[in-house]
């Protein structure tokens, strides 16, 4: 199958006046056409940075993409001039963000915010644009789309706002949608609705979804494949079923156990010992070693290489070498 998005050896660092934050430190991932891929990790592991690096939306001071290849539809995104990138953003790659309240312009009507996306990429379509705006709102199942288009963000509920954000993202029928924690700020029932919406959109548009989240439940619902990220590195990848049934990396096991313990109302919540590592001075060798129950001497010195445990299931851990 053709690879829609192929990211290799990506490094994105942030330079402040006192330190260098190695948010994304040499990761490789890919998304194929018409698939839903998840990127899972705790807060602060660099997953949002990874997501924002693809459309080159990293704020340039202080951030910088140091190295890597980002190939989208066979084009190298890192070599494109900014004006070409602008043509891709919103049209071929679009983004959905976490908190629709702060991610929508508070003083512009919903309809206008969708309209400007369409006109930015297809300015000839002026006659049709209003219809297309209503269509986009209908696509995300917002009731009375004509009224909603005339409303301001503060007039809508959280779920509706998120739908509006999604409508904005799909209005130009993108090939790849990158969603950064799209359901985190919503309550559980709304979350379920949004996930169903994602599935519908994927089926109708045949676009791919790159879903960034810390919530394993969400991943298990709609993702085909998933990457597990820890401290700026990807530690495990594979299709969702094999990861959940046979997690290889101790971190993944830990994550699954603690998620399950909440779901099953266990008396003692299972946690992973230790704290999230510092991305300025990450641990040597395998970054998870200070918290790993299976740590060996080599883990503290060298970064593990990739091993395949099952077809389509890769892990980076000394346990499997």
């Amino acid at each position: 199958m053709n690879k829609l998005l192929n990211v290799q050896d990506l490094k994105t660092y942030f330079y402040t006046s006192t330190s260098i934050v190695k948010a994304v430190d040499n990761i490789t991932f890919e998304v194929e056409s018409n698939e839903t891929v998840g990127l899972v990790g705790e807060s602060g592991c660099g997953k949002s940075t990874a997501a924002l690096s693809v459309p080159r939306l990293i704020a340039s001071p202080p951030g910088k993409i140091l190295q890597g290849k980002i190939a989208f539809k066979e084009r190298s995104l890192l070599d494109l001039p900014e004006r070409e990138m602008k043509k891709i953003r919103g049209k071929e790659i679009s983004m959905i963000f976490q908190d629709p309240m702060t991610f929508l312009n508070p003083v512009m009507k919903i309809g206008q915010q969708i309209q400007e996306t369409i006109l930015a990429h297809q300015p000839e379509d002026v006659k049709n644009v209003k219809t297309r705006v209503i269509e986009a709102l209908e696509m995300v199942q917002i009731p009375s789309p004509r009224n909603v288009a005339e409303m301001y963000p503060y007039e809508l509920s959280g779920g509706m706002r998120q739908r509006a954000l999604i409508a904005m993202a799909i209005s130009c029928k993108p090939d790849l949608v990158i969603a950064d924690e799209p359901t985190t700020a919503l309550d559980v029932t709304v979350q379920a609705q949004i996930l169903t919406l994602f599935e519908r959109l994927r089926d109708e548009f045949r676009s791919s979804l790159f879903l960034i989240t810390h919530d394993l439940g969400v991943v298990s619902e709609i993702c085909d494949r998933v990457y597990i990220m820890y401290a700026g590195k990807i530690v495990e990848s594979g299709d969702v079923i094999s990861i959940y049934e046979a997690p290889a990396h101790p971190y993944t096991t830990g994550l699954l156990k603690s998620a399950l313990s909440i779901d099953q109302f266990k008396k003692t919540l299972v946690t992973i010992e230790g704290t999230v590592p510092d991305l300025i001075n990450p641990p040597m060798g395998c970054r998870f070693h200070p918290r790993c129950p299976f740590v060996k001497p080599i883990c503290k010195q060298q970064e593990p290489r990739w091993t395949q445990t099952e077809p389509e299931h890769l892990v980076s851990c000394w346990l499997y070498e």
Partner: protein, 326 residues
Amino acid sequence: MPRELWGYIAKRALEAIPLFFFIIIVSFTLVHLAPGDPVVRMIGEGVSISPELYNKVRAEMGLDRPIYEQLLAYLQKVIQGDLGFSYFYNQPVANLIAERLLATLLLMFTAMSISSVIGILLGVVSSQKPYSKTDNFFTTLSLVGYSLPLFWTGQIFILVFAIGLGLLPAQGFVSLRTTLFGFDYVIDVLSHLVLPASTYALYSLALMTRLTRASMLETLRKDFILTARSKGLADRTVIFRHGLRNALLPVVTIMGINFGFMLAGSVLVETVFSWPGLGRLLYDAITGRDYTTVMGMLIIISTMVIISNLIVDIAYAYIDPRISHR
């Protein structure tokens, strides 16, 4: 304009009315609290007072009646537009004010509109590369600009451009020596307008630049700016339609406060340039100890500030639809 906006305007207008009364009460209190004879004060110490005049004014002021009756009478007079009679100028105060109002407004609006537009643009520009050498330079420059005393910059402008270089007139509204008509008249007024307007504009420009820059820096950090960029919008669109439109809110508020400040400053600037406006009137009234006019000016200036605040509130509600909905 949406219906809620009208409702909001009405609400704010109603809230402004007690303020107006408060000012009249303040004015009344001051006149009666000050040391000395209130009758003499109302006539003005610069005028010679005959016994008939004294008695006439005393009767008018109704000093024999209880205080609250006096206050009510005064309130009534002011609401009807009677701000008293100036024996110094021999005209009703309201007339004096009407004559000068236009000159002041002309000067202030010219200064403020030009400086606001340029100031906002400069602010946007300097917010693009914050903390760079150019930005630091302009930031310091604008800090200097708004620290300088208004009346002193006026004097310096006169020294340099009028006396030193002889390019522009130093005083007045029009040249006194000739009478000009039509287009020549307009040019003459304009040439007299340049220096005093620039004096206000220097301060105003510095303030607007500083403010817009700070507001833009804060707004551009916000999440919805990232959304706008992720949609592939042109940089200009992101900066102006998404950035500036949100950043303008506090700027508009400060513009309103600035208007009040400039209005007060008119007493200084118009004196420096002998500009025949309200400020100059206030100055002359103070020098001539014409307290009736002084009190009338207090009320008028405060009323103008109330009106400008109202306009600012309305503009704010227009830009930010959340306000009128609450």
